[in-house]
């Protein structure tokens, strides 16, 4: 193999699994160390810079970082990254003093943001301090988008959302609430320098053709619409027996909300096998904990109506069959249809984009799925000053993805308004600094904790089920937060190897607790992987290969299981190994010409 080019920041970026997996590349180990040091405000700001909504995401994030976490490979479970983020938000002091404070000198450019969700708010936050005049339009009375309308308050207290939306709006954003934009043309005619569309995926899928749908419509609700009505306090109760259709996170929110709105027998019914449900495992767990059974392999057949009133639903039972390519088909089992009684049915089987308000003669191209044609990197549409982000751009994903797309779109908008090429993306801001303090001393805590993942305590369900607004999760207390933080392996503190100093004493290879390091003759990657000290089967993790050493051998380090404990560097007599903290911050608008 060729020697690894560690000058390319993408190499070490990939080693920090959590940060790499995070769509907005939050420097996770950095803020976890700050939490361990009880520096909550700083931990919060590290988050705020990258993901804009630490308090919200600390409760509701889809946490792509956690399955990626190296700890989950070394032992059973990853670090509770998401809930540690919440600790920073819960325990911070006044943080507004660290945020850019207006009024900002106007730069004369005017931007319209359509939709007040996470993507638009991110654009607003990134662009406001640069002097842009931001106009934000939303049909609801408050900002937050789906974070407000679809996430129930027992998972995300309203005051947390209000606070974090407030930080952004207080930067001088011109808000136009209770204003449904019904025509993009009108907005264009208002002469904005750029327009950002962050309207999400607002249409919940329905079972319009299922028998009985029309007759039972007063008791059949679309999940996300129903959740929004609950959030804005338009409805206050539901029947005693409730069926929730669908196996995603919206379905989990629906069933748990229904339990708090008077639903006594709430059932989640899914078409697929239980193991293939789309909802996050922890949300399924929480639903089951609230006595909500989940019926698998039931395909809706019809709504049963008696005397013009919904009585329940009929389901066909199926089982999953997989072909050679692993493609699933649901095959009927030939059992008689199953009847499930219900007073109300919530349909939470997915959501989709919908742009009835965009005129099709504006030059804005739509593809065959009726989605706008949007560049994946620049988020620019076929009309050069109109940008899309969040669920509106590429379909429903999650909050953190919307935030990442908001950042990317903000960069594009800023480049566009400055007359620059939006395709020339600014580089990330990176740094690599030695952590050496003394012979066996590092400026990070390299002790490896043996603790298993700590569980976040929850309020008793006898209380939570009676109060829609009572937050279920109580969050880590400071003590368990410290212990959980200590489980982090500090993957951003990189093992950096200088082949010129190496005397090939093998000390690093002998000491490495997880047998990551091997000195051997070079070969191609597939060959090298068979000759390492420990099996090297995870090909998603890179091999760090040095230049040839005096004995013609090379140092090969399999990044997969590295604990970043620093023992290689402590054992190295010539400091050929060093532990160096790698920071990687994605560029935000204004960074490229600003000294950071």
């Amino acid at each position: 193999m060729k020697p690894t080019d560690i000058k390319n920041p993408e190499y070490f970026h990939k080693v920090v699994d959590c940060q790499y997996a995070c769509p907005s590349h939050t420097p996770v180990p950095q803020y976890i160390r700050l939490i361990a040091a009880e520096r909550y405000s700083e931990a919060y700001m590290v988050n705020w810079e990258s993901n804009v909504f630490p308090g919200v995401l600390g409760r509701t994030c889809d946490r792509p970082c956690e399955p990626a976490c190296r700890r989950g490979r070394v032992e059973e479970k990853p670090v509770a990254i998401c809930r540690l983020k919440r600790v920073a938000a819960d325990n911070k002091d006044e943080v507004k003093q660290y945020m850019p404070a207006g009024p900002f000198a106007p730069n004369g450019k005017k931007i319209a943001l359509i939709g007040g969700g996470p993507a638009s708010l991110t654009v607003a936050r990134d662009l406001s301090p640069l002097g842009y005049e931001i106009h934000l339009f939303d049909e609801h009375k408050k900002g937050g988008g789906m974070m407000r309308s679809q996430i129930p308050s027992f998972r995300l207290p309203e005051e947390v959302l209000d606070e974090e939306v407030g930080y952004i709006l207080d930067m001088g954003v011109h808000t136009h609430f209770n204003k449904y934009v019904s025509s993009l043309k009108e907005i264009i005619e208002d002469g904005y320098n750029a327009i950002f569309v962050g309207t999400g995926a607002p249409r919940g899928r329905d079972l319009a053709s299922l028998p009985g749908r029309q007759e039972g419509k007063s008791n059949i609700h679309i999940g996300i619409e129903w959740l929004a009505s609950v959030a804005f306090e338009h409805i206050h109760k539901i029947g005693k027996k409730v069926i929730v259709l669908g196996g995603g996170n919206t379905a989990m929110d629906c069933c748990r909300t229904a339990r708090r709105m008077g639903g006594e027998e709430v059932k989640v019914i899914v078409r697929s096998p239980f193991t293939e449900m789309k909802a996050s495992p922890w949300e399924i767990e929480d639903a089951i904990h609230e006595d909500i059974p989940i019926l698998e392999n039931h395909v809706p057949k019809e709504f049963v109506i008696e005397n013009g009133k919904l009585k329940g639903m009929l389901f066909d039972k199926v089982h999953a069959v997989y072909d050679e390519d692993g493609k699933r088909s649901l095959v009927p089992t030939a059992e008689p249809p199953v009847f499930v009684e219900a007073d109300d049915v919530l349909v939470a089987i997915g959501q989709e984009n919908s742009f009835p308000w965009i005129e099709r003669d504006l030059g804005l191209e739509f593809d065959k799925w009726n989605m706008p044609v949007v560049d994946k990197t620049t988020h620019q549409s076929t009309v050069s000053h109109i940008f899309f982000g969040g669920d509106a751009a590429f379909g429903p994903k999650n909050i953190i993805t919307s935030v990442a797309q908001g950042h990317a779109a903000a960069v594009s908008i800023d480049l566009f308004c400055s007359g620059e090429d939006v395709h020339v993306r600014p580089s990330p801001v990176t740094n690599l600094v030695s952590q050496k303090m003394g012979i066996h001393e590092w400026s990070y805590d390299n002790y490896i904790s043996n603790d298993f993942r700590f569980v976040v305590p929850q309020a008793d369900k006898s209380i939570t089920l009676k109060n829609l607004k009572k937050e279920v999760e109580l969050g880590f207390d400071v003590e368990s937060a410290f212990k959980e933080a200590q489980r982090c392996l500090n993957c951003d503190v990189q093992t950096v190897f200088d082949f010129k100093r190496c005397i090939e004493c093998d000390a690093c290879m002998d000491i490495c607790p997880t047998s990551c390091i091997t000195f051997t003759t070079n070969g191609d990657e597939s060959d090298l992987r068979t000759r390492l000290k420990a099996p090297s089967n995870n090909i998603n993790q890179d091999l760090y290969v040095s230049e040839a050493l005096p004995t013609t051998r090379v140092m090969v380090k399999d990044e997969d299981m590295c604990l970043h404990c620093g023992l290689c560097a402590e054992r190295c007599p010539t400091a050929a190994w060093d532990m160096q903290k790698f920071s990687y911050i994605t560029s935000k608008p204004g960074y490229s010409w600003q000294a950071v």
């Binding site: 005397i503 090939e504 004493c505 997880t514 420990a534 402590e570 054992r571």
Partner: protein, 351 residues
């Protein structure tokens, strides 16, 4: 500061026939200097024991005093150990091997422990042919007392402080050969590919198996001008050949040039597959081995690999005809302490 080693290990480590990974043969975290050759030798012993599928409780580690003699703490943490008086490890080894022949004995010593204070003990251990693996971690200096020249420092070798050694070195391999050792090898701590099979072979050898391992003292004897520095050794090393240890059940597959490969049969039926690099020398003949050592010395080269191998080994217990003796630890309390009547009987014998 880390003197705590994380307990996590690679989850997919291979296991040997006893179900152990090599981690199960490790010991405590070394307190030797970073980069010490001794740590590398410890790691080689760990790997050799892992490959040999030896049950840790079937091994005893014996040592004297010195940096080298500290190492038994750092390998085979689940084995027996005895850290004896300076230079007196051979006495303990002699006693142990006589009273319990079921254990495998690793004697670990250094150039000070074996060539200075313990020289008298070392030579007798060789001539008595104790069934053990005797490893000298040879760095040519007294590392524990800040690097004075030891008895194995070469003439002309320069110390870290700049003084040049004027005395003749003691040549461990030559000495062991002279005194009749049946298995004599030399190696280098920085060459595990060679060292590990040598240790494996030594473990399977019935009789005194001696390995002199050049092990640079990274703190006091790794300077320019030292003949035991990493760089010097790498430049002057001359391997006699390569060996592979082939366990009994494996078929021997020869893939070397004809005439250079010898398969040496061990007493238990396993083989040493020996590939000679130097054709005018035969490791099965003592004279030839002497000549090879002398030749290397004249040309200032360090001969490594298997130097001499006696094909019909014997050991102390065989010579004393005590091979059927019951291990001491299997005696009952009554047998060990037969009471005053028996004592009176014994005493009567002396009257």
């Amino acid at each position: 500061m880390t003197y705590l080693r994380p307990t996590f290990k690679h989850p997919d480590l291979p296991k040997n026939s006893l179900g152990y990974t090599f981690k199960d043969y490790e010991g405590g975290l070394s307190t030797l200097c970073a980069g010490c050759g001794h740590d590398s030798i410890s790691a080689a012993i760990v790997e050799a024991c892992f490959r040999q599928n030896i049950a840790p409780h079937k091994v005893a580690k014996l040592s004297g005093i010195g940096c080298s003699s500290k190492t038994p703490t750092y390998f085979l943490g689940n084995s027996h150990g005895f850290n004896s008086v300076h230079g007196r490890m051979p006495s303990v080894a002699t006693g142990a091997s006589l009273v319990n022949q079921d254990l495998m004995y690793f004697g670990v010593s250094g150039d000070g422990d074996s060539a200075s204070i313990g020289m008298g003990q070392f030579v007798h251990a060789v001539r008595r042919n104790i069934n053990m693996v005797y490893i000298v971690m040879n760095n040519g200096c007294y590392g524990l007392t800040k690097g004075q020249d030891s008895a194995t420092a070469d003439v002309g070798s320069k110390s870290k402080a700049g003084s040049v050694n004027i005395f003749q070195p003691i040549d461990f391999a030559g000495l062991a050969l002279e005194l009749g050792a049946g298995f004599v090898a030399q190696s280098f701590s920085g060459d595990k590919t060679q060292l590990i099979p040598l240790i494996e072979a030594a473990m399977n050898y019935k009789g005194f198996a001696f390995i002199n391992v050049i092990s640079p003292c990274v703190t006091f004897n790794n300077n320019v001008g030292s003949t035991k520095a990493y760089d010097y050794v790498r430049q002057h090393i001359d391997a006699t050949g390569t060996i592979d240890f082939v366990p009994t059940h494996n078929e021997i597959v020869a893939d070397y040039k004809e005439g250079t490969q010898t398969n040496i049969k061990m007493h238990d039926g396993s083989y040493l597959q020996f590939n000679k690099l130097d054709t005018d020398w035969n490791p099965l003949e003592r004279d030839s081995s002497f000549a090879a050592l002398q030749k290397a010395r004249n040309s200032q080269e360090i001969l490594t690999g298997l130097i001499y191998f006696e094909q019909n080994p014997t050991d102390l217990n065989t010579m004393l005809n005590t091979t059927n003796e019951k291990p001491l630890h299997q005696f009952s309390a009554n047998e060990l302490s037969p009471g005053s009547a028996k004592l009176a009987e014994v005493n009567d014998d002396f009257r």
